[in-house]
C-alpha cells in the first residue's frame, strides 16, 4: 500500500542472524545500547510503547481487570449512558461497555502480531530470492506481487475468509499471506541495493552457496529495512483485523471484540447511544496511533 523509502545505508550487525527469527533479529538490529537509548529518549516512542503495553496488559489480564463480566447481561440495565457504576455505559443487552473494551483487546492483539510475523518471514524469504536470484524467479514473483497489489487487501481477505470460513487461524494465515508480497517488494528493493557490494562478490568467489549468502550475508544487512517494514505492517494488520471484524468476518459474537462490537451497535448511534460504538472505536484508534508512533520513532532512529 505504501512505498517505504528503503534505508540500505544503516549498517546491520555483522554477526550471522538465525534464519527467520524476526523477533530475535529485531533485537540484534537494535542491539547496540546507543540505539536503544536513542529510542527511549524519544517521547513519541515512550508514549506509543506505553499505550501498546496498556493494551497488552488488558489482553492478558482482561478478565481480572474488568469491573464486570463482559458477557453478563443485565437486561433491566440496557442502553444506560456512562455513569459512576458503568463508566462507559451499557450495550443493548445491558453488558458493561468498559469491560467489553478491556477484554476485547485480546483477539486483535493475538492475531495482528502473529499475522505480521508470518508475513514478514515469508515476505523476507521471497524478497531475498527475488532480489538476489533475479531472472525468472524475480519476473514470475513480480507479476504475482503486482496482481495482489491491484486488489484491496480487505477484499482479498474476505474473499478467502468467506471461502474458508472464519476463525482466528484463518485470519492469521490470510493476512500473513496478503502481507507476503508487500513485504517481499520492500525486501527486494533493499537487496538490490546490496547486490553489487564487495562483500557479496567475495562471498560468491569463496564458493558459498546462494542460500547461505542470502540468509547469512545479505539478511543481516537488510535487517533495518525489514524491521521498519515489520512495524509499518503491524499498523496495517491492526487496521485489517479491525475492519474484517467490523464486516463480520473476524471474531464472532458474543466474544467481546472492538470491531464486531461496533458493527453490532452502530445502528444505535441514531438513537443517541454513542458510547456503545465510540469507546471501542477510540480503543482501535489508540492502538493504531500507538503502533505508528513506535514505527515513526524506529524509522527516525535507524535513519539518524
Amino acid at each position: 500500500m505504501t512505498d517505504l523509502t528503503v534505508d540500505p545505508g544503516a549498517p546491520g550487525d555483522p554477526r550471522a542472524t538465525p534464519v527467520g527469527a524476526v523477533a530475535v533479529a529485531a533485537a540484534t538490529v537494535l542491539a547496540p545500547p546507543t540505539r536503544w537509548r536513542l529510542l527511549l529518549r524519544r517521547p513519541t516512542f515512550v508514549v506509543g510503547a506505553a499505550i501498546v503495553l496498556f493494551w497488552v496488559v488488558c489482553a492478558i489480564f482482561g478478565h481480572a481487570i474488568a469491573p464486570f463480566s463482559p458477557l453478563a447481561q443485565q437486561l433491566l440495565n440496557s442502553n444506560t449512558a456512562p455513569s459512576g457504576s458503568h463508566w462507559f455505559g451499557t450495550d443493548p443487552l445491558g453488558r458493561d461497555v468498559l469491560s467489553r473494551v478491556i477484554v476485547g483487546a485480546r483477539d486483535i492483539l493475538v492475531i495482528t502480531p502473529l499475522a505480521t510475523v508470518l508475513g514478514t518471514i515469508l515476505g523476507t524469504a521471497l524478497g531475498l530470492a527475488m532480489g538476489y536470484l533475479g531472472g525468472v524467479v524475480d519476473l514470475i514473483a513480480g507479476r504475482l506481487v503486482e496482481a495482489v497489489l491491484a486488489l484491496p487487501a480487505v477484499i482479498i481477505a474476505f474473499l478467502f475468509i468467506v471461502a474458508l470460513g472464519s476463525s482466528t487461524v484463518t485470519l492469521i494465515i490470510v493476512i500473513g499471506f496478503i502481507f507476503t508480497p508487500l513485504i517481499a517488494r520492500t525486501v527486494r528493493a533493499a537487496v538490490l541495493a546490496e547486490r553489487n557490494l564487495d562483500y557479496l562478490s567475495s562471498a560468491r568467489l569463496l564458493g558459498e552457496n546462494p542460500v547461505r549468502i542470502m540468509f547469512g550475508e545479505i539478511l543481516p544487512n537488510v535487517m533495518p529495512a525489514i524491521l521498519v517494514e515489520f512495524t509499518v505492517r503491524l499498523g496495517y494488520a491492526v487496521f485489517a483485523v479491525a475492519t474484517l471484524s467490523f464486516l463480520g468476518f473476524g471474531v464472532q459474537p458474543p466474544t467481546p471484540d472492538w470491531g464486531s462490537d461496533i458493527a453490532a451497535n452502530y445502528s444505535g448511534l441514531l438513537a443517541g447511544y454513542w458510547w456503545q460504538t465510540l469507546f471501542p472505536a477510540l480503543a482501535i484508534a489508540s492502538l493504531v496511533t500507538a503502533v505508528n508512533l513506535i514505527t515513526d520513532s524506529i524509522e527516525q532512529v535507524l535513519n539518524a
Partner: protein, 306 residues
C-alpha cells in the same frame, strides 16, 4: 497489464470456485437433502471439471457475460454497473477533496522539512492513514450527524432527490476516505518537493535572484508533483477497499456494499464479478496515470513527436 488481469482472474476463480467446495451445499445449508444439492449443482454447472468451468467463465467474461447471481438468479452485470456508477460518484468526491489538500499539506511539510510543522503534518497524516474508515466514520457520525445535526448520516438521499441534496449526503461518507488518502498523497508530495528543492535547477533559479515564491511555483512544484500522480492512481485500488467499509457504514448502494452483501450471501458469481471489476478499474487507473505522466513530462516521450 493483460498478464496482471489474468493472474487476478486466477486468484478470484481459485477463491470463488475451488475453496468453497460445494456451492450447492453452501447455498442450501447443511440440512438440505443430498439430491437437491446435486440438482442445484447441476443447474449451476459447478459439477463440471475445473478447467471447463474456468474456460467457460473467462469466455463469458470476454463476451461481457459476467455470470448469473446465485441469490437473484439473474445476470450479474446490471447490478455491477449500477453499483459502480454510485461508487465512482463517492470516490470522485473524495479525490476532489483530498488531492489539493494532500498536495498542499505535503508541500508545506517539505518547505519546513524537519521542523515542527513538518512533524505535525507527517504524524497526523500517518495516523489518519491507519485509522480504519469505520472508526473515523463513527466519530464523524457522532459529531456531525448526532450532536451537531448538520449533515445527513446516510449516503443515499432517496429516490427523486435533487443533485445538491444527494451531494450533501455524500460529504460525510467521503471524509473517512479523505483521511486515509491524505497521508499517502502528502508523503509523496513532500518527498517530491524536497528532491526538487535540492536540485540544480532550483539552486540556479534562486541564484539568479528569483523571488522564493516564484522559484517554488514555477520550478519546484511542476517537477515535484509528477510522482504524486502515480501515487494517486495506485491508491484507487485501496480506495475501493475503503468503499466496502464506508458504503456499509453509511448504507450506500455502491460496489463495495455489493461485494460485501454477495460475500455474506455466499453469492460467488456476484462476488467474483465484483472483485474482478475492481481489478480492471485499478489497472485502468494505473494505465491512465502512466499516460498522463508521459503527457506532462516531455522527458518520458521517447522518440515521440518532432
Amino acid at each position: 497489464m493483460i498478464l496482471t488481469l489474468w493472474i487476478i482472474s486466477l486468484i478470484v476463480f481459485f477463491a470463488g470456485q475451488i475453496l468453497p467446495g460445494d456451492p450447492g451445499r453452501a447455498i442450501l445449508g447443511p440440512f438440505a437433502a443430498k439430491s437437491s444439492v446435486q440438482a442445484l449443482d447441476a443447474q449451476l454447472g459447478v459439477n463440471r471439471p475445473l478447467l471447463t468451468r474456468y474456460v467457460s467463465w473467462i469466455g463469458g467474461l470476454l463476451h461481457g457475460n459476467m455470470g448469473t447471481s446465485y441469490s437473484y438468479r439473474t445476470a450479474v452485470e446490471p447490478f455491477i454497473r449500477a453499483a459502480l456508477i454510485n461508487s465512482v460518484k463517492l470516490a470522485l468526491l473524495a479525490f476532489v477533496i483530498v488531492v489539493p489538500l494532500g498536495i498542499i499539506g505535503g508541500v508545506i511539510a517539505a518547505l519546513y522539512a524537519g521542523r515542527g510543522v513538518d512533524r505535525i503534518i507527517s504524524i497526523t497524516g500517518l495516523s489518519l492513514a491507519t485509522v480504519p474508515e469505520f472508526v473515523s466514520g463513527i466519530v464523524l457520525i457522532v459529531v456531525f450527524g448526532v450532536t451537531l445535526k448538520v449533515l445527513p448520516v446516510t449516503a443515499s438521499a432517496g429516490a427523486g432527490a435533487g443533485d445538491l441534496n444527494q451531494f450533501r449526503h455524500l460529504i460525510l461518507p467521503a471524509i473517512p476516505l479523505v483521511f486515509v488518502l491524505f497521508g499517502y498523497i502528502a508523503r509523496m508530495a513532500r518527498a517530491g518537493t524536497i528532491e526538487a528543492l535540492g536540485s540544480d535547477y532550483a539552486r540556479t533559479a534562486v541564484l539568479k535572484g528569483l523571488p522564493r515564491a516564484t522559484v517554488i511555483r514555477r520550478h519546484v512544484l511542476r517537477n515535484s508533483l509528477l510522482p504524486t500522480i502515480t501515487v494517486i492512481a495506485t491508491q484507487t485500488g485501496y480506495l475501493i477497499g475503503g468503499l466496502v467499509v464506508v458504503e456499509t457504514l453509511f448504507n450506500y448502494q455502491g460496489i463495495g456494499n455489493l461485494i460485501f452483501k454477495a460475500a455474506q450471501a455466499k453469492d460467488f458469481p456476484m462476488l467474483e464479478a465484483g472483485v474482478l471489476t475492481i481489478g480492471v478499474v485499478y489497472v485502468l487507473a494505473t494505465l491512465g496515470a502512466d499516460l498522463l505522466l508521459i503527457a506532462l513530462n516531455p522527458r518520458l516521450r521517447i522518440g515521440g513527436g518532432e
